[in-house]
């Protein structure tokens, strides 16, 4: 099995499994797309030079490029678990996955 075929198989399996969940992705100026992504919020200590620690949930969403018409961009929006987010940063993960750092928007 070629590596690219194996990677494609793994990506499909991940999205279809419990690691993936339904999301709605809306590129800036484009139409909404229903797809699956891997949503993984985690608690982080936000360093804003304060005397007390500030803790927040850092929402991250893994998406596969095959599900999108174009590369995800900062400013795109996404709905996960009924909550609306804005993409504030895009990280490249391999050749086909992107990790999106999100900020909550008023729903």
């Amino acid at each position: 099995v070629a590596w690219t075929d194996l990677e494609a198989l793994l990506s499909t399996t991940i999205r279809a499994s419990d690691l993936g969940e339904p999301i709605t992705y809306t590129p800036t100026g484009g139409g909404a797309v229903s797809m699956r992504g891997s949503f993984a919020p985690q608690s982080v200590v936000v360093d804003v030079n304060t005397g007390a620690a500030v803790i927040s949930d850092r929402p991250e969403l893994g998406v596969h490029l095959a599900d999108l018409a174009a590369e995800p961009l900062m400013g795109d929006s996404v709905t996960v678990r009924g909550l609306l987010f804005k993409v504030i940063r895009v990280e490249i993960l391999g050749s086909t996955w992107r990790i999106l750092h999100l900020h909550r928007l008023a729903s």
């Binding site: 982080v44 936000v46 030079n49 304060t50 620690a53 927040s56 750092h101 900020h103």
Partner: protein
């Protein structure tokens, strides 16, 4: 077992004679810092609309999501407390410069949080500087610096604006160590010195 106030306050760290000997020093300094901190906190609580969002403790972590719901919060705490002698004072007078930090922390969907924080800072400065004696506990209060920090690490942008106030207060050495001089014993070894005491006297101070 009943503890004296200082032992109770320090969890028994200072007890018995040591507590008695140092109680003036420790209680005076702790009380003055605490009094200034309390006055600043109370002033902000009573004179602003942020009464239940002002925290005088740094031990409880703030939740960015909660701040996004309820609005900006304010932290009050003290940092450095430098001490120097004031010359030409008998008994000596110590001049303390206490740094009081007032931090405004906000977390909203707004990416530009500097303007709202500056508006809050302006109100905080007016309240804190209105009484430069901090309830009669200090000689002077000045704003010594403002520090703005922004992070996009969490679910919302989180911003903080820390205002640092330099609060000057004075402490008499007599208040710290107690003026309990009651008697001086004087011995004269007349020249040439030979370790033989030729005269001796007691000088007794009456209150």
């Amino acid at each position: 077992v009943s503890l004296d106030p200082l032992s109770a306050l320090t969890g028994g760290l200072f007890g018995g004679n040591l507590s008695e000997a140092t109680s003036g020093l420790l209680q005076s300094q702790m009380h003055r810092r605490a009094a200034i901190r309390k006055h600043v906190t109370d002033s902000l609580r009573f004179e602003s609309d942020a009464a239940n969002r002002i925290y005088a403790s740094r031990f409880i972590p703030l939740q960015a999501e909660e701040i996004a719901d309820i609005g900006p919060v304010i932290l009050v705490y003290t940092l450095d407390d430098s001490v120097e002698d004031l010359v030409a004072h008998t008994p000596p007078v110590f001049r303390n410069i206490l740094t009081v930090a007032v931090e405004i922390v906000s977390s909203t969907v707004l990416t530009d949080q500097q303007d709202p924080l500056d508006a809050i800072a302006q109100a905080v400065e007016a309240i804190v500087l209105r009484d430069e004696s901090q309830g009669g506990n200090a000689q002077d209060t000045e704003l010594s610096g403002s520090f703005f920090t922004l992070s996009d690490e969490g679910a919302y942008p989180v911003a903080s604006l820390r205002l640092e106030f330099a609060v000057e207060y004075h402490t008499d050495a007599a208040d710290l160590v107690g003026d309990e001089l009651g008697k001086i014993n004087i011995k004269w070894d007349l020249a040439p010195p030979d370790s033989e005491i030729e005269a001796e006297d007691d000088v007794v101070y009456e209150e």
